[in-house]
């Protein structure tokens, strides 16, 4: 098992009610597994998960990305700066 930090922004923060969480996850868990785990914990995420963007240590991550120890993982909707 390993520890990771999760950050939630914008609608993701509203749905989870969390800004930052520390989670312990299985060593072989990839981003897809992490998403499934979060949908189980926060069912409100289910509908939007297909368009949720994930970053891993400040780089975009994808379903088959593996997760390093102490990773900082952020989840957010498509960006809307400008």
């Amino acid at each position: 098992m390993k520890k990771v930090t999760l950050l939630f922004f914008a609608t993701l923060r509203d749905i989870t009610g969390e800004r930052r969480m520390i989670k312990t996850i299985p060593d072989d868990m990839q981003i897809s597994g992490l998403k499934e785990m979060l949908v189980d914990e926060f069912p409100g995420l289910k509908e939007i998960m297909a368009s949720v963007i994930v970053s891993l240590d400040h780089e975009f991550a994808f379903d088959n990305s593996s997760i390093p120890v102490d990773a900082e993982i952020a989840l957010f909707p498509p960006v809307s700066g400008g």
């Binding site: 780089e59 960006v79 700066g81």
Partner: protein, 152 residues
């Protein structure tokens, strides 16, 4: 001649005259500056009035992605001298400037117009910043529609 690269998230208003000075060198003959601001009245698509926009950023990643965009600009338009990509966060009223993208070059036909446009277009795709819109109907997050692909 490669000049300055300024990439930052800030709460402060950008002083455009000062920025113009920072982006100009002896060899500079053209600066294109784009400034985005809060639009109070939207007429296209779903017409509505905006009373306030609140911006938040995932700061370290936002600045990292801005640097990525600056590098992309330099690869595509090698004659660009200086680049500024500056996004403000906080609460803003109609008429307030919220973002500035500026590029400088020796001449106007170096791609400097296209480079500045590319900068603001890419910012709206990959820089993790979000805005919440407040209208007379309530408040809601505005979401973009770009999903980054592997390699971005």
């Amino acid at each position: 001649m490669v000049g300055e690269t300024i990439c930052k998230i800030t709460e402060s208003e950008v002083n455009l005259d000062e920025l113009l000075g920072e982006l100009s060198k002896n060899s500079t003959g053209a600066v294109v500056m784009f400034t985005g601001m809060v639009r109070g009245v939207t007429e296209k698509n779903s017409p509505h009035d905006t009373s306030l926009l609140e911006y938040e950023a995932y700061l370290p990643m936002a600045e990292k992605m801005m640097w990525r965009i600056a590098n992309e600009i330099r690869t595509r338009w090698p004659d660009i001298e200086s680049i500024a990509i500056i996004q403000r966060t906080g609460k803003f009223l109609p008429g307030d400037p919220t973002v500035t993208v500026a590029c400088s070059a020796a001449h106007r036909d170096t791609g400097v117009f296209e480079a500045a446009k590319y900068g603001i277009d890419r910012l709206k795709e990959i820089v993790p910043v979000w805005k919440k819109e407040f209208t007379s109907q309530g408040e809601s997050w505005i979401e973009g529609d770009y999903i980054p692909q592997p390699g971005e």
